[in-house]
């Protein structure tokens, strides 16, 4: 009995201690936060729609950056994830590939954007590369795990026809995992659209720049317009990916 309760109790105590350290039990401060929330939301309505042309252009740039970045990252992640698949390559090659992917993933997308602003200058190109870099690190790991999960019987059966490694990837591993490959790209695209709306903070293009300006000027009615636009684009993305999933994924779910 004691051993069963041990982990939950320790976890709860640790959580309480950490929250206390972070200032969670400063009731006065929390109450002030609730008051401020009321003021902030009052100052956000009605949203200032006169900035729609400016914000719309910035939003379009954000969408372009996320699409291009996600696709570039996806294409680059495929060879890396194949190298990282233990069943296909020797232990040290897959270890090295996994290490590279983990290294890329260690750096958050905002830091990648800063790196590419330094390398290729201010603007959406830096943001596109930043998104692509993070996407490589993330998808390479997910895909390598996915490829390793391919039914070994199918691989053995096709391998025994004398197929090469590349043929195995092309005819067994990718078709068998196609559903999950598509699902992960869509997830990454949604993630990147949200992430790229703040890359402008570091000068890497998109909505972030105007968000930063409105925040600094305490221009909450204009900020509200931008947030609404992001909400709309995320909803549209949800719709598109739901349609893609229905179109391409459900049809193969049988059996």
């Amino acid at each position: 009995m004691i051993s069963k309760l041990f982990l939950p109790i320790i976890t709860a105590l640790f959580l309480l201690a950490v929250l206390a350290h972070l200032g969670f039990f400063d009731w006065e401060r929390l109450a002030r936060g609730v008051r401020n929330m009321r003021i902030l939301s009052a100052e956000m309505v009605p949203p200032d729609l006169t900035i729609l042309p400016t914000a719309g252009a910035a939003l379009w740039e954000t969408v372009e950056m996320s699409f291009a970045g996600t696709l570039l990252g996806f294409l680059a992640s495929l060879p890396l994830s194949i190298l990282a698949t233990r069943r296909l390559f020797s232990d040290w090659i897959s270890r090295l590939a996994r290490f590279v992917a983990a290294g890329i993933r260690t750096i958050p997308v905002l830091l990648w954007a800063i790196v590419f602003v330094i390398l290729v200058g201010l603007g959406p190109l830096a943001g596109t590369f930043g998104i692509a870099a993070y996407t490589i690190g993330y998808l390479a790991k997910i895909y390598a795990d996915l490829f390793e999960g391919t039914d070994p019987e199918i691989i053995e059966a096709v391998q025994s026809t004398g197929a090469s490694k590349l043929q195995l990837v092309r005819f067994v591993i990718i078709p068998e995992t196609a559903n999950a490959i598509l699902a992960q790209v869509l997830f990454m695209l949604e993630y990147n659209i949200r992430a790229s709306s703040i890359l402008g903070f570091v000068g890497a293009g998109g909505l972030g720049l105007i968000v930063q300006i409105y925040l600094q000027n305490l221009d909450y009615r204009r900020l509200a317009t931008v947030l609404l636009l992001v909400l709309v684009i995320v909803l549209i993305m949800d719709g598109i990916s739901a349609w893609l999933r229905r179109r391409f994924l459900l049809s193969t779910q049988a059996s």
Binding site: E153, A157, G162, Q167, F171, V172
Partner: protein, 253 residues
């Protein structure tokens, strides 16, 4: 070992031992000789290592001890690549790619003799596509060649798996628990088609089965595997009568 010297030996195993890492031996001193052009059925209770034996014979698993020879050529880990086109292997779950069509799955049998460049683009020579259709026709399933495998029934999938192996043009086909989950009429039909195909293409078949009826119908020779070793070369009187040239050394530990 009895050997009447008529048929050449397609597959020969001598004192083969196999254990998965950190486990007791699954195969204990298995010796057998499969005559070319015959149908050999391996029977035995589940968990006796039938699948393991077939995977060792197919060159997928490397025995810890003992020798395996394919048409008198020794098989080891290195030479496997050149021997593997000679041996077709059909796993218990068939190993078909569900998202691809029946035709695409059959074409995979030709991958071993095609270069990477064209095949990776999905371009197969017309001769191979014709041969794939012919193999599907031989198995009576050519009308479903454009259907994706996940739309096919169990029996249809078995036919596609055989057609893929036929396109490989192997000398030996090793199939694990083939036709085991089909109803008897369907199993008979498929097995008869396999016998016809094997005769045409001069293929030696090795199958594991657990239904005695199917084994009698299909096997020229039945080997029984028990406790990881071949205990006798026949089961029951009828099989004994139809398998006069039993070429198996009974090894008991």
């Amino acid at each position: 070992m009895t050997d009447n010297g008529t048929a050449p030996i397609a597959l020969n195993a001598e004192q083969v031992w196999f254990a998965y890492p950190q486990h007791d031996a699954v195969l204990r001193n298995v010796s057998l000789a499969i005559p070319a052009g015959k149908h050999t059925v391996i029977m035995g209770p589940s968990g006796t290592g039938k699948t393991t034996l077939l995977r060792v014979l197919a060159g997928i698993l490397k025995p810890n001890r003992g020798r395996i020879a394919v048409f008198d050529q020794p098989m080891n880990g290195r030479g496997q690549r050149q021997l593997s086109p000679l041996i077709g292997y059909i796993p218990q779950q068939l190993g078909l790619v569900r998202n691809l069509t029946a035709l695409d799955n059959v074409l995979m049998g030709a991958l071993g003799r095609l270069g990477d460049t064209a095949s990776l683009l999905g371009l197969f020579p017309k001769a191979e596509i014709d041969a794939a259709h012919a193999a599907l026709k031989m198995m009576g399933i050519d009308h479903k060649s454009d259907a994706q495998v996940f739309h096919l029934s169990g029996g249809e999938r078995q036919r596609v798996a055989i057609a893929r192996t036929l396109l490989q043009r192997p000398r030996i086909v090793i199939a694990d628990e083939f036709a085991s989950d089909l109803d008897l009429a369907m199993a008979y039909e498929i097995l008869d088609r396999i016998r016809d195909a094997a005769e045409q293409e001069k293929i030696t078949f090795i199958m594991s089965m657990h239904r005695i009826g199917l084994a009698r119908r299909f096997g020229d020779e039945v080997l029984a595997l028990e406790g990881g070793t071949i205990v006798r070369g026949f089961i029951g009187n009828e099989i004994l009568e139809t398998a006069p040239e039993a070429t198996v050394e009974a090894t008991t530990l």
